[in-house]
Point group: C2
Chain length 212, copies 2
Protein backbone atom coordinates (compact mmCIF):
# COMPACT_ATOMS: atom_id res chain seq x y z
CA UNK A 1 0.00 0.00 0.00
CA UNK A 2 1.31 3.43 -0.90
CA UNK A 3 1.36 5.81 2.02
CA UNK A 4 -0.33 9.17 1.49
CA UNK A 5 2.00 12.16 1.16
CA UNK A 6 2.23 14.02 4.45
CA UNK A 7 0.38 17.34 4.37
CA UNK A 8 0.35 19.10 7.72
CA UNK A 9 -2.72 21.23 6.99
CA UNK A 10 -4.85 18.09 6.64
CA UNK A 11 -4.21 17.43 10.33
CA UNK A 12 -4.99 20.84 11.81
CA UNK A 13 -8.35 21.24 13.50
CA UNK A 14 -10.02 24.67 13.40
CA UNK A 15 -13.15 25.63 15.28
CA UNK A 16 -13.77 29.06 16.71
CA UNK A 17 -16.68 27.74 18.79
CA UNK A 18 -14.31 26.28 21.31
CA UNK A 19 -12.67 29.60 22.17
CA UNK A 20 -16.08 31.16 22.84
CA UNK A 21 -17.22 28.18 24.85
CA UNK A 22 -14.17 28.28 27.11
CA UNK A 23 -14.68 32.00 27.70
CA UNK A 24 -18.30 31.30 28.62
CA UNK A 25 -17.25 28.64 31.14
CA UNK A 26 -14.52 30.87 32.62
CA UNK A 27 -17.02 33.72 33.04
CA UNK A 28 -19.42 31.28 34.72
CA UNK A 29 -16.57 30.15 36.98
CA UNK A 30 -15.76 33.71 38.02
CA UNK A 31 -19.40 34.33 38.88
CA UNK A 32 -19.84 31.37 41.22
CA UNK A 33 -20.12 31.85 45.00
CA UNK A 34 -16.88 31.73 46.96
CA UNK A 35 -16.76 29.34 49.91
CA UNK A 36 -14.50 28.39 52.78
CA UNK A 37 -11.90 25.67 52.34
CA UNK A 38 -13.25 23.02 52.46
CA UNK A 39 -16.79 24.09 51.52
CA UNK A 40 -19.37 23.84 54.31
CA UNK A 41 -20.87 20.56 53.11
CA UNK A 42 -19.92 17.55 51.03
CA UNK A 43 -21.34 17.32 47.51
CA UNK A 44 -21.24 15.07 44.47
CA UNK A 45 -19.32 15.96 41.37
CA UNK A 46 -16.05 16.47 39.59
CA UNK A 47 -14.73 19.73 38.19
CA UNK A 48 -12.38 22.66 38.46
CA UNK A 49 -11.50 24.84 41.45
CA UNK A 50 -9.40 27.80 42.50
CA UNK A 51 -7.95 28.68 45.91
CA UNK A 52 -7.60 32.31 47.00
CA UNK A 53 -5.28 33.51 49.76
CA UNK A 54 -6.48 36.33 51.99
CA UNK A 55 -4.27 35.91 55.07
CA UNK A 56 -1.32 37.71 56.60
CA UNK A 57 1.61 35.44 55.77
CA UNK A 58 4.19 37.85 54.39
CA UNK A 59 5.24 35.34 51.73
CA UNK A 60 1.91 35.82 50.02
CA UNK A 61 1.20 39.46 50.80
CA UNK A 62 0.79 40.31 47.14
CA UNK A 63 -2.05 37.82 46.85
CA UNK A 64 -3.82 39.14 49.96
CA UNK A 65 -3.50 42.63 48.53
CA UNK A 66 -4.84 41.72 45.11
CA UNK A 67 -7.77 39.87 46.64
CA UNK A 68 -8.65 42.68 49.06
CA UNK A 69 -11.82 43.77 47.23
CA UNK A 70 -12.53 40.83 44.99
CA UNK A 71 -11.45 37.21 44.55
CA UNK A 72 -9.31 37.97 41.55
CA UNK A 73 -6.02 36.13 41.82
CA UNK A 74 -6.03 32.46 42.75
CA UNK A 75 -2.87 31.10 44.33
CA UNK A 76 -3.73 27.65 42.99
CA UNK A 77 -6.00 26.17 40.33
CA UNK A 78 -6.74 22.48 40.05
CA UNK A 79 -9.11 19.87 38.76
CA UNK A 80 -10.78 16.82 40.19
CA UNK A 81 -11.58 14.06 37.75
CA UNK A 82 -12.95 10.67 38.80
CA UNK A 83 -10.42 8.00 39.74
CA UNK A 84 -9.79 5.74 36.77
CA UNK A 85 -10.72 8.49 34.32
CA UNK A 86 -7.37 8.26 32.54
CA UNK A 87 -7.89 4.56 31.97
CA UNK A 88 -11.54 5.02 30.94
CA UNK A 89 -12.31 2.37 33.53
CA UNK A 90 -15.33 4.18 34.82
CA UNK A 91 -18.61 4.97 33.16
CA UNK A 92 -20.40 8.33 33.11
CA UNK A 93 -22.91 6.94 35.59
CA UNK A 94 -20.15 6.38 38.12
CA UNK A 95 -18.78 9.87 37.44
CA UNK A 96 -21.87 11.50 38.76
CA UNK A 97 -21.66 9.63 42.05
CA UNK A 98 -18.10 10.70 42.69
CA UNK A 99 -17.37 13.21 45.43
CA UNK A 100 -13.94 13.79 43.98
CA UNK A 101 -14.14 17.59 43.87
CA UNK A 102 -15.16 17.96 47.51
CA UNK A 103 -12.62 15.30 48.53
CA UNK A 104 -9.86 17.16 46.71
CA UNK A 105 -10.73 20.45 48.39
CA UNK A 106 -10.76 18.77 51.79
CA UNK A 107 -7.39 17.18 51.01
CA UNK A 108 -6.02 20.65 50.19
CA UNK A 109 -7.26 22.02 53.50
CA UNK A 110 -5.37 19.20 55.24
CA UNK A 111 -2.20 20.03 53.30
CA UNK A 112 -2.53 23.65 54.39
CA UNK A 113 -3.06 22.71 58.02
CA UNK A 114 -0.08 20.33 58.16
CA UNK A 115 2.65 22.98 58.37
CA UNK A 116 2.29 25.54 61.14
CA UNK A 117 2.67 28.67 59.04
CA UNK A 118 -0.59 28.59 57.07
CA UNK A 119 -4.20 28.65 58.22
CA UNK A 120 -6.99 27.04 56.21
CA UNK A 121 -9.23 29.93 57.33
CA UNK A 122 -7.09 32.23 55.20
CA UNK A 123 -8.03 30.35 52.05
CA UNK A 124 -11.29 30.61 50.15
CA UNK A 125 -12.31 28.52 47.18
CA UNK A 126 -14.37 28.73 44.04
CA UNK A 127 -15.40 25.63 42.09
CA UNK A 128 -17.51 24.53 39.15
CA UNK A 129 -19.00 21.08 38.67
CA UNK A 130 -19.04 19.59 35.18
CA UNK A 131 -21.46 16.71 34.69
CA UNK A 132 -21.87 13.90 32.15
CA UNK A 133 -20.28 14.69 28.77
CA UNK A 134 -19.42 18.13 30.10
CA UNK A 135 -16.82 16.50 32.34
CA UNK A 136 -14.56 16.28 29.30
CA UNK A 137 -14.24 20.07 29.51
CA UNK A 138 -12.55 19.88 32.90
CA UNK A 139 -9.01 19.67 31.57
CA UNK A 140 -9.50 22.53 29.14
CA UNK A 141 -11.02 24.86 31.71
CA UNK A 142 -8.31 24.08 34.24
CA UNK A 143 -5.64 24.78 31.60
CA UNK A 144 -7.27 28.05 30.65
CA UNK A 145 -7.62 29.23 34.25
CA UNK A 146 -3.95 28.42 34.84
CA UNK A 147 -2.92 30.19 31.66
CA UNK A 148 -4.96 33.31 32.48
CA UNK A 149 -3.97 33.54 36.16
CA UNK A 150 -0.53 31.89 36.33
CA UNK A 151 -1.19 30.99 39.99
CA UNK A 152 1.92 30.95 42.17
CA UNK A 153 1.49 27.34 43.34
CA UNK A 154 0.98 26.16 39.76
CA UNK A 155 4.04 27.93 38.42
CA UNK A 156 6.87 29.39 40.53
CA UNK A 157 6.37 26.90 43.40
CA UNK A 158 5.46 23.35 42.50
CA UNK A 159 4.25 20.44 44.58
CA UNK A 160 1.23 21.70 46.51
CA UNK A 161 -1.10 19.33 44.65
CA UNK A 162 1.20 16.32 45.05
CA UNK A 163 0.05 13.14 46.72
CA UNK A 164 2.02 10.77 48.89
CA UNK A 165 4.31 9.11 46.31
CA UNK A 166 3.95 5.84 48.22
CA UNK A 167 6.41 3.21 49.32
CA UNK A 168 9.20 2.57 46.86
CA UNK A 169 9.15 6.14 45.61
CA UNK A 170 10.60 8.06 48.54
CA UNK A 171 13.96 8.32 46.81
CA UNK A 172 12.68 11.46 45.08
CA UNK A 173 13.16 14.96 46.45
CA UNK A 174 10.43 16.76 48.35
CA UNK A 175 8.70 19.45 46.32
CA UNK A 176 9.34 23.18 46.46
CA UNK A 177 6.08 23.62 48.35
CA UNK A 178 7.17 21.12 51.00
CA UNK A 179 10.51 22.91 51.40
CA UNK A 180 8.87 26.19 52.37
CA UNK A 181 5.87 24.69 54.20
CA UNK A 182 7.27 21.83 56.27
CA UNK A 183 4.71 19.49 57.77
CA UNK A 184 3.11 16.99 55.41
CA UNK A 185 4.17 13.64 56.92
CA UNK A 186 4.86 11.87 53.62
CA UNK A 187 6.98 14.75 52.32
CA UNK A 188 9.36 14.21 55.25
CA UNK A 189 10.08 10.72 53.92
CA UNK A 190 11.39 11.98 50.57
CA UNK A 191 15.15 11.55 50.55
CA UNK A 192 16.24 13.29 47.33
CA UNK A 193 17.99 16.67 47.23
CA UNK A 194 15.31 19.38 47.12
CA UNK A 195 15.56 22.89 45.70
CA UNK A 196 17.36 25.31 48.01
CA UNK A 197 14.91 27.29 50.12
CA UNK A 198 16.56 30.60 49.17
CA UNK A 199 16.04 29.84 45.49
CA UNK A 200 12.35 29.13 46.07
CA UNK A 201 11.86 32.31 48.11
CA UNK A 202 13.55 34.22 45.28
CA UNK A 203 11.18 32.61 42.76
CA UNK A 204 8.21 33.71 44.85
CA UNK A 205 9.46 37.30 44.97
CA UNK A 206 9.99 37.37 41.21
CA UNK A 207 6.54 35.91 40.62
CA UNK A 208 4.76 38.33 42.96
CA UNK A 209 6.59 41.29 41.41
CA UNK A 210 5.34 40.17 37.98
CA UNK A 211 1.66 39.89 38.94
CA UNK A 212 1.42 43.13 40.97
CA UNK B 1 -18.28 38.07 56.79
CA UNK B 2 -21.17 35.69 56.49
CA UNK B 3 -20.54 32.83 54.13
CA UNK B 4 -23.16 32.20 51.44
CA UNK B 5 -25.31 29.11 51.93
CA UNK B 6 -24.02 26.25 49.81
CA UNK B 7 -26.27 25.54 46.83
CA UNK B 8 -24.86 22.88 44.53
CA UNK B 9 -26.85 23.96 41.47
CA UNK B 10 -25.10 27.34 41.50
CA UNK B 11 -21.86 25.53 40.73
CA UNK B 12 -22.97 23.28 37.86
CA UNK B 13 -21.99 24.38 34.37
CA UNK B 14 -24.35 23.49 31.50
CA UNK B 15 -23.59 24.03 27.83
CA UNK B 16 -24.73 21.71 25.08
CA UNK B 17 -22.36 23.33 22.59
CA UNK B 18 -19.44 21.44 24.03
CA UNK B 19 -20.89 18.01 23.29
CA UNK B 20 -21.45 18.97 19.65
CA UNK B 21 -18.01 20.51 19.38
CA UNK B 22 -16.28 17.39 20.66
CA UNK B 23 -18.24 15.24 18.21
CA UNK B 24 -17.14 17.55 15.40
CA UNK B 25 -13.49 17.22 16.41
CA UNK B 26 -13.75 13.42 16.75
CA UNK B 27 -15.30 13.18 13.29
CA UNK B 28 -12.48 15.36 11.93
CA UNK B 29 -9.98 13.08 13.69
CA UNK B 30 -11.47 9.95 12.11
CA UNK B 31 -11.27 11.54 8.67
CA UNK B 32 -7.57 12.45 8.79
CA UNK B 33 -5.00 10.53 6.73
CA UNK B 34 -3.36 7.55 8.42
CA UNK B 35 0.44 7.46 8.42
CA UNK B 36 3.29 5.16 9.38
CA UNK B 37 4.74 5.28 12.89
CA UNK B 38 6.52 7.64 13.10
CA UNK B 39 5.06 9.76 10.30
CA UNK B 40 7.32 10.26 7.24
CA UNK B 41 8.48 13.73 8.24
CA UNK B 42 8.83 15.88 11.32
CA UNK B 43 6.26 18.62 11.85
CA UNK B 44 5.39 21.35 14.33
CA UNK B 45 2.47 21.06 16.65
CA UNK B 46 0.84 19.51 19.66
CA UNK B 47 -2.30 17.41 19.66
CA UNK B 48 -3.96 14.03 19.90
CA UNK B 49 -3.07 10.75 18.23
CA UNK B 50 -4.14 7.14 17.93
CA UNK B 51 -2.07 4.04 17.15
CA UNK B 52 -3.58 1.15 15.17
CA UNK B 53 -2.19 -2.38 15.15
CA UNK B 54 -2.32 -4.36 11.91
CA UNK B 55 0.35 -7.03 12.49
CA UNK B 56 0.39 -10.74 13.19
CA UNK B 57 1.26 -10.90 16.88
CA UNK B 58 -1.30 -13.34 18.26
CA UNK B 59 -1.73 -11.26 21.42
CA UNK B 60 -3.40 -8.56 19.36
CA UNK B 61 -5.13 -10.62 16.71
CA UNK B 62 -8.49 -9.08 17.54
CA UNK B 63 -7.14 -5.63 16.72
CA UNK B 64 -5.65 -6.74 13.41
CA UNK B 65 -8.98 -8.32 12.54
CA UNK B 66 -11.04 -5.28 13.43
CA UNK B 67 -8.69 -3.01 11.46
CA UNK B 68 -8.65 -5.24 8.37
CA UNK B 69 -10.82 -2.95 6.22
CA UNK B 70 -10.64 0.31 8.10
CA UNK B 71 -8.64 1.96 10.88
CA UNK B 72 -11.40 1.56 13.41
CA UNK B 73 -9.97 0.37 16.70
CA UNK B 74 -6.89 2.09 18.09
CA UNK B 75 -4.76 0.07 20.49
CA UNK B 76 -3.58 3.31 22.11
CA UNK B 77 -4.70 6.94 22.23
CA UNK B 78 -2.55 9.72 23.61
CA UNK B 79 -1.89 13.40 23.63
CA UNK B 80 1.14 15.60 23.23
CA UNK B 81 1.05 18.92 25.03
CA UNK B 82 4.01 21.27 25.17
CA UNK B 83 6.53 20.72 27.96
CA UNK B 84 5.74 23.03 30.84
CA UNK B 85 2.06 23.23 29.84
CA UNK B 86 0.91 22.05 33.27
CA UNK B 87 2.89 24.82 34.92
CA UNK B 88 1.77 27.41 32.37
CA UNK B 89 5.46 28.21 31.97
CA UNK B 90 5.18 28.54 28.22
CA UNK B 91 3.33 31.02 26.08
CA UNK B 92 1.11 30.26 23.12
CA UNK B 93 3.85 31.50 20.82
CA UNK B 94 6.17 28.83 22.12
CA UNK B 95 3.42 26.22 21.77
CA UNK B 96 3.32 26.62 18.06
CA UNK B 97 7.04 25.99 17.70
CA UNK B 98 6.91 22.74 19.60
CA UNK B 99 7.38 19.47 17.75
CA UNK B 100 5.96 17.60 20.72
CA UNK B 101 3.42 15.55 18.74
CA UNK B 102 5.95 14.24 16.24
CA UNK B 103 8.47 13.68 19.05
CA UNK B 104 5.95 11.65 21.01
CA UNK B 105 5.08 9.48 18.01
CA UNK B 106 8.78 8.86 17.38
CA UNK B 107 9.25 7.96 21.04
CA UNK B 108 6.41 5.44 20.73
CA UNK B 109 8.04 3.84 17.70
CA UNK B 110 11.22 3.43 19.79
CA UNK B 111 9.23 1.82 22.62
CA UNK B 112 7.74 -0.61 20.14
CA UNK B 113 11.12 -1.48 18.64
CA UNK B 114 12.80 -2.06 22.03
CA UNK B 115 11.29 -5.50 22.70
CA UNK B 116 11.78 -8.13 20.00
CA UNK B 117 8.14 -9.18 19.64
CA UNK B 118 6.63 -6.08 18.02
CA UNK B 119 7.43 -4.33 14.75
CA UNK B 120 6.90 -0.59 14.28
CA UNK B 121 5.86 -1.36 10.68
CA UNK B 122 2.77 -3.08 12.09
CA UNK B 123 1.55 0.15 13.65
CA UNK B 124 -0.11 3.04 11.86
CA UNK B 125 -1.06 6.35 13.37
CA UNK B 126 -3.62 9.08 13.04
CA UNK B 127 -3.14 12.51 14.61
CA UNK B 128 -4.71 15.94 14.80
CA UNK B 129 -2.89 19.18 15.54
CA UNK B 130 -4.59 21.76 17.75
CA UNK B 131 -3.16 25.26 17.51
CA UNK B 132 -3.29 28.40 19.68
CA UNK B 133 -6.35 28.52 21.95
CA UNK B 134 -7.54 25.30 20.34
CA UNK B 135 -4.73 23.50 22.16
CA UNK B 136 -6.88 23.62 25.29
CA UNK B 137 -9.16 21.09 23.59
CA UNK B 138 -6.42 18.47 23.51
CA UNK B 139 -7.25 16.93 26.88
CA UNK B 140 -10.95 16.74 26.14
CA UNK B 141 -10.51 15.13 22.75
CA UNK B 142 -8.04 12.60 24.11
CA UNK B 143 -10.46 11.73 26.93
CA UNK B 144 -13.33 11.33 24.49
CA UNK B 145 -11.35 9.12 22.10
CA UNK B 146 -10.32 6.93 25.04
CA UNK B 147 -13.87 6.74 26.31
CA UNK B 148 -15.28 5.84 22.89
CA UNK B 149 -12.61 3.30 21.94
CA UNK B 150 -11.36 1.94 25.29
CA UNK B 151 -8.00 1.14 23.68
CA UNK B 152 -6.25 -1.92 25.12
CA UNK B 153 -3.06 -0.09 26.07
CA UNK B 154 -5.02 2.67 27.79
CA UNK B 155 -7.16 0.30 29.82
CA UNK B 156 -6.44 -3.42 30.36
CA UNK B 157 -2.65 -3.03 29.97
CA UNK B 158 -1.07 0.07 31.41
CA UNK B 159 2.38 1.59 31.04
CA UNK B 160 3.01 1.86 27.30
CA UNK B 161 3.08 5.66 27.48
CA UNK B 162 5.35 5.75 30.54
CA UNK B 163 8.65 7.57 30.51
CA UNK B 164 11.86 6.62 32.26
CA UNK B 165 10.99 7.34 35.92
CA UNK B 166 14.56 8.56 36.43
CA UNK B 167 17.12 7.99 39.13
CA UNK B 168 15.67 7.77 42.60
CA UNK B 169 12.42 6.27 41.35
CA UNK B 170 13.45 2.80 40.26
CA UNK B 171 12.00 1.29 43.43
CA UNK B 172 8.65 1.12 41.66
CA UNK B 173 7.46 -1.91 39.70
CA UNK B 174 7.71 -2.10 35.94
CA UNK B 175 4.40 -1.56 34.17
CA UNK B 176 2.12 -4.25 32.77
CA UNK B 177 3.25 -3.28 29.26
CA UNK B 178 6.88 -3.82 30.19
CA UNK B 179 6.11 -7.22 31.68
CA UNK B 180 4.71 -8.55 28.40
CA UNK B 181 7.05 -6.60 26.09
CA UNK B 182 10.47 -6.83 27.67
CA UNK B 183 13.09 -4.51 26.24
CA UNK B 184 12.89 -0.88 27.26
CA UNK B 185 16.20 -0.33 29.08
CA UNK B 186 14.81 1.85 31.87
CA UNK B 187 11.99 -0.59 32.61
CA UNK B 188 14.61 -3.24 33.43
CA UNK B 189 15.85 -1.02 36.28
CA UNK B 190 12.49 -0.99 38.07
CA UNK B 191 12.79 -3.17 41.15
CA UNK B 192 9.23 -3.35 42.51
CA UNK B 193 7.00 -6.42 42.21
CA UNK B 194 5.13 -6.20 38.88
CA UNK B 195 1.79 -7.76 37.95
CA UNK B 196 2.03 -11.46 37.15
CA UNK B 197 2.34 -12.05 33.41
CA UNK B 198 -0.47 -14.62 33.44
CA UNK B 199 -2.81 -12.06 34.98
CA UNK B 200 -1.96 -9.52 32.28
CA UNK B 201 -2.46 -12.05 29.48
CA UNK B 202 -5.82 -12.90 31.03
CA UNK B 203 -6.76 -9.21 31.09
CA UNK B 204 -5.90 -8.92 27.39
CA UNK B 205 -8.10 -11.91 26.53
CA UNK B 206 -11.00 -10.48 28.51
CA UNK B 207 -10.56 -7.09 26.85
CA UNK B 208 -10.37 -8.48 23.32
CA UNK B 209 -13.42 -10.67 23.90
CA UNK B 210 -15.34 -7.56 24.97
CA UNK B 211 -14.48 -5.46 21.90
CA UNK B 212 -15.04 -8.20 19.27
Amino acid sequence: MKEPVFERNKHVYHNETFVELVKDAVRFFNGTPVHTLPPPESFQGTGVYALYYIGNNSLYGTYSGLNRLDYRNPIYVGKAVPEGWRQSRISDAEDSNSRELYTRLREHSRSIKAPGDLDAKDFMCRFVIFEKDGSDMIGSIEATLIKINVPLWNSAVDGFGNHDPGSGRYEQAKSDWDVIHVGRPWAQKCKGVPTDKKVILGNIKTHEAAIK
